[in-house]
Subunit: 335 residues, 2 copies
């Protein structure tokens, strides 16, 4: 078991304490975490509380552009940001599989710590379980984010209105394709890199410039097509997208064509969809493009009145097609 | 795949939405969860924030006295309570293994919903991932609890002082033994039932009667021996326990004897250890015994000055032995 996770690392005794000290606190440490209590005690939060949680089960654990560690930080920060809130704290629970190389765990924890520091959001409490070989996937990480939403921000999936403009903060599909191409079975060599990134800074700039934003959502599993169909249903509206306006990197488009996939169905982990009144769309786009993570932001379509809640696409060739909400393309362990 | 979890249930599309609606919202529903946003928006919290998280990976999923669903609620509520806080909200992330019977998932979600309602703490946001067969354990659930701690409460693992009394709220080891005996391989038929329960009501009564409590901690993995050794280290003290005073049910004692285990190392999921100044111990014990979950509370020992931080036990026969902090008895998937 030397150099690998074994069952004692999850048994609540000294071996677990040593792992927490030497791997996790080393990488993630901060006063709340280091206190070693049953949880974290933190200052009072001045405003409405926002809570978001995501399990991360991505395979492979390391992929072009990131790894499960930084992804687990970014994914949850982005859900807090998509609620129009400022993330303040993260918790992290780890399900380790017996046999995981400690060196891999260390790399993952370091990446998590780096992502949390860059985001300015500490991991204040955690948990470690070990499951026997064959009952896990190396490591699964659930993060929960707690944030604060200031008065006046009212973003909500049910607030899209006919006439609103639909923006996306950058090219779509990179994360999903990076994962697919990284799977050895495919043996594809491409320059595609995951877009994984924390978007709360970008969203703060956006809400500063355009506080009246109606909807924010990160197009993760199911991609842009699932996200827009979901919003269309929640708001009771339709949408019309302009295919030519949707940013897709050439390498992503090519890999999708090869694999028979639609970039619109592919997960992003560093993009935000924004729905905003037409009058504020220019201001919003300008604020996005001024931020390093929004340079390629684009206006991609418009909300329309439609009792059927269809999301339609104006194709490059002037036709129209429905953007379907897949029952669920079985792409396991994409995030 | 009919009647079983398949990979589409985790793919972000309509199949996942249907599962969330028909299984999870059905069982756990409340306005914040039903809103279906990226997370939950909640009212401002008046006081210091407390956050605790635990992954739950128990096997079998159903055991005498409970299941992974109610355990995932109780376990995290108890960590919030052990911080001296009132739990307000829970999040829940599910890692489902392909092939899990939907009927089992429904039972688990129902049990979770029941536990959350009984506790008065809603599950306000969630997440669902599906991993391929052979990469999970049926279902793993991470819950995160958010609570509020009022001014004046200062419980802390570093606050045990020589002369303090050590209390436990009831018999120890039931959960660990119930799980072990439930494992088919053992084939043991015993009347042992898990003690899994939410202790925040009991703790609220205790802190009302004795707000000056120094330390609270739930003796989960590693049992009483790990918990007391941990506190002894954090506080820089020693402890002397009275073996005859530690409540252990006869069936638990018998099963431990048979299996060569020490009840002190066995996980509890419905017990709290309390360390309190001697002057307040009587009041504390009285408050505990007045609550249905503390009827069998007992004074089990005393904190002493000891630079080596030893936890010692005065045996029934008048001798003394060290209560060791195991490196980690490898009891995988105990909670
Ligand atoms: N992977 C981790 N990264 C960072 N901190 C961790 C990690 N795992 C545990 N911790 C921290 O270590 C301390 C002990 O955690 P532990 O899970 O043993 O406590 P517990 O939840 O009270 O016990 P149990 O999980 O058995 O119910 C806590 O302060 C926790 O925040
Ligand atoms: N197991 C569950 N129980 C209760 N609610 C759930 C569960 N899983 C998801 N939800 C709820 O369903 C909604 C959609 O969750 P989903 O995970 O798809 O959103 P997301 O986190 O934004 O996307 P992703 O997980 O792909 O990043 C959220 O409101 C979430 O709280
Ligand atoms: Mg605890
Ligand atoms: Mg998410
Ligand atoms: Mg824990
Ligand atoms: Mg989201
Ligand atoms: Mg715990
Ligand atoms: Mg999610």
């Amino acid at each position: 078991s030397h150099g690998h996770v074994d069952l004692t690392h999850g048994a609540g005794g000294r071996a677990m304490m040593a792992l927490i000290h030497h791997v996790f606190r080393q990488a993630l440490g901060n006063p709340a975490l280091d206190a070693g209590h049953d949880g974290a005690v933190l200052p009072a939060v001045p405003g409405r509380l926002v809570i978001a949680t995501d399990a991360h089960v991505v395979a492979p654990l390391f992929f072009p552009g990131g790894d499960i560690g930084c992804l687990a930080v970014h994914g949850t920060l982005n859900d807090v940001a998509a609620m129009g809130a400022q993330p303040l704290y993260l918790s992290a629970s780890f399900i380790l599989e017996e046999g995981l190389a400690l060196a891999d765990l260390q790399r993952i924890a370091a990446s998590m710590g780096r992502a949390a520091r860059e985001a300015g959001v500490p991991v204040v409490t955690g948990d470690t379980k070990v499951v026997p070989r064959g009952q896990g996937g190396g490591v699964y990480i659930t993060t929960t984010g707690v944030g604060v939403r200031r008065e006046g921000v009212e973003v909500d999936g049910a607030r899209a209105r006919p006439g609103d403009h639909i923006l996306v903060t950058g090219p779509i599909g990179d994360h999903g394709l990076a994962i697919l191409c990284a799977r050895e079975a495919l043996g594809l060599a491409t320059p595609i890199v995951s877009d994984t990134a924390a978007l709360h800074g970008l969203v703060a700039d956006l809400l500063h410039a355009a506080p009246e934003v109606h909807v924010l959502r990160d197009p993760t599993r199911g991609g842009l097509s699932a996200t827009l169909n979901e919003i269309a249903h929640q708001s009771g509206v339709g949408m019309v997208l302009q295919e030519a306006a949707i940013p897709v990197r050439p390498a992503v488009a090519a890999a999708c064509e090869l694999l028979g996939l639609d970039p619109l169905d592919m997960a992003c982990e560093g993009r935000m969809v924004i729905i905003v009144a037409a009058a504020a769309a220019g201001r919003a786009l300008q604020a996005l493009r001024a931020h390093p993570l929004g340079r390629e932001a684009a206006l991609i379509g418009e909300v329309v009145a439609d009792g059927r809640h269809f999301v339609q696409m104006q194709t490059r060739f002037g036709g129209r097609r429905l953007v379907h909400w897949l029952a669920g393309d079985p792409l396991p362990r994409i995030c």
